[in-house]
Subunit: 250 residues, 2 copies
DNA sequence: CGTGCTTTTGAAAATCATCAAGTATAGTGG
DNA sequence: CCACTATACTTGATGATTTTCAAAAGCACG
């Protein structure tokens, strides 16, 4: 198989190997706003790419030529300061649409946390297509609205919550959004939370240091709020306590 | 961290006293996506209200029955924790569209910083109207995208910037967005920045305490970066230095 | 010219960051 | 399969920025 390097990602096929009609991520993405009979038009625009773990596939400040859709795996979205300080603004699981912006350059970077598959669309062509599919534009507005709400919640966390509250919030949200089977963001609280990201990622997401993340999790463990069978697995032992911590009730 | 809760707001007229066609805020708002000849349909949905300074006109968690458009004055948008900790997630100047959300309840509160005029729309009716005006829906998506970018920038500030950097960022952004005449968010850097909000508001916006805000501004003054003719007026004496501070260059 | 509010300033305290080892864990090649 | 190395994670001691507590100084308003 010939891998062609385009900037920092690997192009596996110009045509989606699994066309939109059979896409696993479709039920969770804006694409499902397009009817079965029209889906071919979307598929014609899509390039399916593989991104290996740790690879940056959107570079902050680069010309924004594409939209992306995460079809498998998870990405982290981040912004950097010149001296290297990093803020992860969100994690993008399967179904996430990326690249919404009016600006001509990307306002954030994106890097694969785990091996990923993404769908890439020409910004220009997808914009044109959107004119024919107002339903998809409506979905995009819904998605953007939801992200805005999530962003405000995150601002509350970053601006006003303690380290303990931040970690509790993170775990509770993760538990609600953990992929149990296929659902990327269900509502049932999971017992076990899988963390595909490193402590460093968590720290940069919560505005803390890795040491504080580690210490806080250890303390949760000694307090019997969680178990830590492995570094990337957390078992919620006292979901109620964590939730009340997360909402700021000490 | 003052929290005065007032439910009702002052309704001045069911019909806009200044109809949409002659609205000062229209050039800066999503409403200008609607043609002159169709603007009456929008005006028919709009109720123009006066909100006195300090009044809460959106209560977090209340049923989201309306959209709002700020036609004069400035609002602060915020989220609260049960113990009163507050995070201001943004300031909404003239032209801002409020209430975008899929949820049936408001995800944030809104309170007038200065005397305001707002346009109120029934969520249900405006949604219906939007189906006839895809251009306005497109504008809404643009607006939401821009706010998302701003939110990410704010997360970087809250999660990773020092107090000095936060204040510098705040002043630089304010300078760029200060209403010089009519433009609510121009690009020319203003010398003088007017701060309609209190130190407490600034603190809650930047994730700091009022004391830290005050001390940091005083230090900027002794360092000749700014002048503070009055508590609500800041003169940028060294815009370049503030900008490099804001971007994290010490 | 008080009265109540916001703002400023000072001193002490605390949370979280930094510096520094030490311990798992995973991936690699012998 | 096992050592070996690199990386990630944990734990401890110290330190600094920011918060908290406290009080004085400005300012607006009746």
């Amino acid at each position: 198989m010939t891998h062609i390097r385009v900037r920092s990602l690997v192009v596996e096929s110009a045509r989606p190997s699994e066309p939109c009609a059979a896409c696993d991520a479709r039920p969770f993405s804006v694409c499902n706003a397009i009817d079965q009979r029209d889906i071919e038009r979307l598929a014609a625009l899509a390039a399916s790419l593989t991104v290996e773990a740790g690879r940056t596939f959107i570079e902050e400040g680069d010309p924004a030529e594409h939209f992306f859709n995460v079809t498998a795996g998870t990405a982290k979205l981040f912004k950097l300061l010149p001296d290297g300080r990093r803020q992860i603004t969100g994690f993008a699981p399967m179904g996430t649409f990326l690249g919404l912006a009016v600006s001509s350059t990307y306002a954030f970077g994106a890097e694969a946390v785990e091996p990923m598959r993404i769908c890439r669309f020409s910004r220009f062509k997808l914009r044109a297509l959107l004119d024919d599919f107002p339903a998809m534009e409506k979905r995009l507005l819904e998605v953007a609205s939801n992200e805005l709400v999530a962003a405000q919640e995150q601002m509350l966390l970053l601006g006003r919550k303690t380290a303990r509250e931040r970690l509790a919030s993170f775990l509770v949200t993760r538990a609600a959004c953990t992929a149990n089977g296929a659902t990327p963001c269900g509502h049932r609280a999971a017992e076990k939370v899988t963390l595909p990201m490193t402590r460093s990622d968590i720290a940069d997401y919560l505005g803390l240091t890795i040491e504080t993340v580690s210490r806080t999790l250890t303390r949760f463990k000694t307090e019997r709020l969680i178990d830590i069978p492995s570094a990337s697995e957390i078992v919620m032992r006292d979901h109620a306590a964590l939730e009340s911590l997360a909402t700021g009730l000490h």
